[in-house]
Symmetry: C2
């Protein structure tokens, strides 16, 4: 990667940019890329005022990845390696961001993408991305765990490559977010807040931060994970059988990366806490109205959590906080319009409109 190419804005995607820090990527593997990554790090001045004096808050807006979520970081890695190893198809059990990302990268690679789902649980609209990218969707008589089990069994036959988060290439690709934050900030943050569902992302962030710190000798951030109250197994310390929350992307009762989340929390001196659906909803609106960033509900959990913690005890002066906002609000337009209503129409005349608007 020449310096010229970077200065002229040719962002080549994660695998090219960070190839030397992804040892599991063979030198002759051809990246399957949609130029994911290097998402904006946007300062949220108006919200940071609520966190304490002399605190900086930056939002890493992962919703601007090619399929609208952070999943693209792991998927470019997983699909590149699947293709490199000779797979003709990738498969996952997912109703949301994972299936969208898998379908897009498979399309790019010229591979089949198969999505296995429990029967009758999914509205077609939620699958619009998977459909348009050409994924084959199969419904089974069974629950989500059975869908995942079948996917695992199919993977073992060698016929398909599993790209669910049990695939370790996913977390390896996702760790690159820490590299970017370090480059964009010019330092490591003091605190990092993010939503925690399946816990792969907090695991990946922590891995990436440790790799940066090992290179630069800087101090590691305190990791602050936030779950929804109705789906908070890591807060409770035990799995949740029927998780419930409006934040569908983190509606998970048995996190696949449980140990990774606990390690990130404990090694960083951090915490994993719960926020209510109402706090999530309010934080989603606040992020849109005070920072101009529209995210899906789950992504607002870290903002909700930071505000909740700060009300209890403000962050120390000099704190530099990064919050990962994992998915684009356009993925869930119905939640966005909740509560919106229009007043009765008025005549198309200057006077009444000025009156209505107080102008």
């Amino acid at each position: 990667m020449s310096e010229l190419a970077l200065t002229t804005g040719r962002w080549p995607g994660l695998l090219v940019r960070y190839r030397d820090r992804l040892p599991s990527l063979p030198p002759d593997a051809q990246p399957v890329t949609l130029h994911e990554g290097m998402t904006p790090l946007i300062r949220a001045e108006r919200i940071e005022q609520a966190l304490g004096g002399d605190v900086e808050l930056y939002v890493k807006f992962e919703g601007l990845n090619p399929t609208g979520s952070f999943k693209d970081r792991g998927m470019t890695m997983a699909v590149t390696l699947a293709k490199y190893r000779g797979a003709k198809a990738v498969i996952c059990a997912s109703t949301g961001n994972t299936s969208a990302s898998a379908a897009a990268y498979a399309a790019r690679a010229g591979l089949r993408c198969i999505v296995v789902l429990p029967k009758g649980k999914i509205a077609l609209g939620k699958l619009s991305q998977a459909f348009i990218y050409g994924a084959e969707v199969v419904e089974i008589d069974g629950n989500f765990d059975q869908a995942l089990e079948i996917v695992r069994q199919l993977g073992e036959t060698g016929a398909v490559a599993v790209v669910n988060s049990i695939n370790p290439d996913r977390i390896e690709g996702q760790k690159t977010i820490a590299f970017e934050i370090h480059e964009q900030l010019g330092r490591l943050p003091t605190h990092h807040a993010l939503p925690v569902g399946n816990a792969g992302n907090i695991t990946a962030h922590w891995r990436g931060y440790r790799e940066v710190a090992a290179l630069t000798g800087e101090g590691l951030p305190v990791m602050l994970g936030f779950q929804a109250e109705g789906a908070a197994p890591l807060v409770l310390g035990h799995p949740v059988d029927h998780p419930e929350t409006i934040a569908t992307a983190i509606r998970i009762g048995r996190p696949a990366s449980w140990d990774g989340a606990i390690e990130a929390r404990d090694d960083s001196g951090g915490a994993i806490e719960a926020v209510s659906d109402w706090e999530i909803f309010a934080a989603q609106r606040r992020l849109a109205r005070e920072a101009g960033i529209f995210c899906e509900p789950a992504s607002a959990a870290p903002i909700a959590g930071l505000l909740k913690r700060a009300a209890r005890s403000p962050l120390p002066p000099g704190s530099v906080v990064v919050a990962t906002v994992t998915g684009n609000g356009l993925k869930d337009p119905d939640t966005a319009a909740l509560g919106a209503e229009l007043k009765p129409a008025i005549p198309a005349l200057l006077g009444p409109i000025r009156d209505r608007l107080g102008l």
Copy 2:
């Protein structure tokens, strides 16, 4: 802008990056930015094969701007200047991408955003972005032209800044797309294809390309604009009173930048042609399934148009074609899921699933 900052990926947004090429931006104006721009330029290898031998096709994916469309380029400029000039509110008459972008940048700037609409014409869902960013939506008894007229009158009172495309700052900001394409490609393309609705974007592209060519002495691209058959005033040579197309973002019968579009077409030796809704729909799917890019229907018009032209006469060998894909497909999920259907569920057993999938 230091070279270091760029090499480390701190993309600062358009106004900082291209300040020296935006003379209407006063040196002391503080940019209102969401780090818009430098959207990926993604090669579409599988589609370019259909355009002729030895042709390169690149998609400039503007759907990855902060609010999901190219409008953010003009809006960062318009809202920055509105705030600089002391405005307390911005206003527009728009049902779609313009209102979303205006609302986000106004939120970022701490300004009010007012959206004026004809009564009863708009589903709340289409306005989800405007609502979540906190815009005030006012319905009037009247049609879209009357809404725009009231907006114009309110602007003349000095109480609000109009950010519809009659605001010349919009096109000035939008021209930066040409600068980026030149940097990303390392040259000017030979052909540029894009959707044409209100025609501000083709006008802005052409202005930007001419500015690049004046600096570098390179040859200018041939500009190829595509309208929807039911909303093709520039193809017909006269306004269309009741435009109709599934491509709502270009459903416009009286383009505001008519003259700019004709100038771009004629000065570049280009063309403005029509494509059918069916061709648009098919191209949207093809772009998703062969390139991994999910765009709103209007954005697929240039892909449809390029394929239609190539069927008639392939592009010359050596052509380097860029197509602007203006908006994110997540803005219009209903169109994406059209035609999707699920087969009956099958037992959660390896055998039946392998049979179904032919694995």
